[in-house]
Symmetry: C2
Subunit: 336 residues, 2 copies
């Protein structure tokens, strides 16, 4: 059974969603779970929720990182933060993977520094899982771990994203695209034009340049870009979903008949919301680190925490990391 | 009265939407309109729609550029294309501005080469107008004219976008933001970090870095980025709106009660669709060229063409270009 450590102090409402999430995960037998955070509080919370007898172990951490702390500073200063304790458990083999819904920068810093990179990986990359209109999902990477990239980094991202998609979504031959501004090979910026040539040589199903609209239409499974572009893409998507929901609500409440319509179609809206809710996919994996690191959204509820534990366990069982190392050893031209 | 030339062969359904669009524009007295394209056909179409007596002049162009032609190639080969004829009319002072719903690359190439750049502008930029959840609009630039940019280019984009917003949307002091991946000054890539320092010195209301989500929440009026990032942002937004509409329709038609709900809330959906429809804003201005160039969507209908004529006329009346030149002469540090 995979052993997954959850940073108990990550979500905006910590430790409630984490404690409930690991209880759900343990009850469903998804993993053996460790919970890193203030021991007294966590034990109390677990007892209060009737977790006695479940395979949940508490590991004490005296500090936690807040959402607005600079990642590098918090890393240096807080040696006993729950996220560092979680990463050390993975490094020392006491856990196979970690889940944190904390400050993304701080989690990435802890994982990159404490766990280190896989053989053949220059730069770990953060991958986001996005629902598409075909009812499936696309993986977009990098979404923020590396703002300035070289072509060989994108090449490694392609191999890592493809392997992850293959294992986690059970696809035999995921379609990999390079995010650009036109489908032709010569379209794009300096980075993507050079990366295109390298991608053609990779032993994976490269479908060429894809455009922003392809992220959501189901035409591609793995979309590769630098971390600046990917982060902008992700935040725009989140912002647009929020804005559309708000505008629709306003439009719907403007007339009596549409108020009635709203009530009647409430079920449809819930269904829709569930389909675009990335909590279903358990957060963003930091690919390329020695170990498993899932970064969940700060607003995660217990359901999202549980899903993150499930995905982390699937990641371990599917041996994603050793597959990535094997692929990279065979596939990628040496970088500079 | 401003004189605006419309490329009659731009939209996917050309010349129907163009002919109807200029008739609407002329009837509402928005501008004196010229129509560039095959003379015989256009005169016939105008007569058939009862345009006699309206201030619409046809200028013959024997060729047209298709949507999938490479911009540079079509520019060299088709010297008498409707878009080149339109640009020449502006260059020669026979029109004040042009509107085209054709192949964006070909329109940009024609406008940049034939019209040339304003004093102080190294690179013209394409600006998209995006509706936000406050019921207002934000301008995003560059969305595709310049894929690889230097900091001084972003600086010029800021001045051009701010001037455009001020004149067209009647805002006294538009809020200008730099598109990045975190609000702190040090967040971003090499380009945005260097641009941030320059933006602080500009005599405009710079609110610092903004994130993707701010594009749609009304926190910022003018958003500046390189043309690669901007194009990706725009295409993702279009794709996501499409995907959400599709998913909502499916969710709504899944149950009888929501089918009833759908019928009742149809009016609300129409209202919503109108609010996110960028056709209301008449297309994307190519800022920084000597003359006015509005690029409308290939799927534009007559209403969108009419709105583009209106915006082009407002652009002329508001003397956007001379204001941009004045701002740039005073504001921007010399580039490299």
């Amino acid at each position: 059974m995979p052993r997954i450590v959850v940073d108990a102090m990550g979500t905006d409402a910590a430790p409630g969603p984490e404690v409930e999430g690991v209880i759900l995960a343990a009850r469903e037998g998804l993993a053996d779970v460790l919970l890193a955070g203030p021991e007294d509080i966590l034990k109390q919370e677990l007892a209060r929720r009737g977790a006695r007898g479940l395979p949940i172990e508490v590991v004490h951490a005296s500090e936690s990182v807040t959402m607005d702390e600079a990642a590098a500073k918090s890393f240096r200063r807080k040696r006993d933060s729950s996220v560092r304790v979680a990463a050390r458990l993975v490094r020392d083999g006491k856990a196979d993977g970690m889940v944190s819904a904390g400050n993304t920068g701080a989690v990435m810093a802890a994982a990159k520094i404490i766990l280190g990179a896989l053989e053949g990986v220059d730069r770990p990359a953060l991958a986001a899982v996005l629902p598409n209109s075909k009812g499936k999902a696309a993986v977009l990477l990098d979404v923020g771990a590396n703002v300035d990239c070289k072509p060989q980094h994108l090449e490694q991202f392609a191999v890592m994203g493809e392997t992850y998609y293959r294992v986690i979504f059970g696809a035999e031959r995921p379609r990999v695209g390079l995010l650009s501004i036109g489908s032709e090979e010569h379209k794009g910026n300096e980075l993507t034009r050079e990366a295109f040539g390298r991608f053609k040589e990779l032993p994976l199903h490269f479908i060429g340049n894809v455009e922003g609209r392809d992220l959501y239409n189901g035409r591609v499974d793995v979309v590769v870009c630098d971390g600046f572009t990917g982060n902008v893409a992700l935040k725009i998507s989140e912002g647009l979903v929020e804005a559309i929901s708000k505008m629709l609500r306003e439009s719907l409440s403007r007339t009596l008949s549409s108020k009635v319509g709203y009530v009647l179609s409430r079920k449809a809206f819930r269904d829709f919301k569930r389909r675009v809710d990335y909590a279903e996919y358990g957060g963003a994996p930091l690919l390329g680190v020695r170990g498993v690191c899932l970064i969940a959204h700060g607003s995660s509820n217990s359901h999202a925490v549980k899903n993150a534990v499930r995905v982390a366990a699937d990641f371990v069982r599917g041996q994603v990391n050793s597959k990535i190392e094997r692929e990279l050893a065979g596939a990628v031209q040496p970088g500079i």
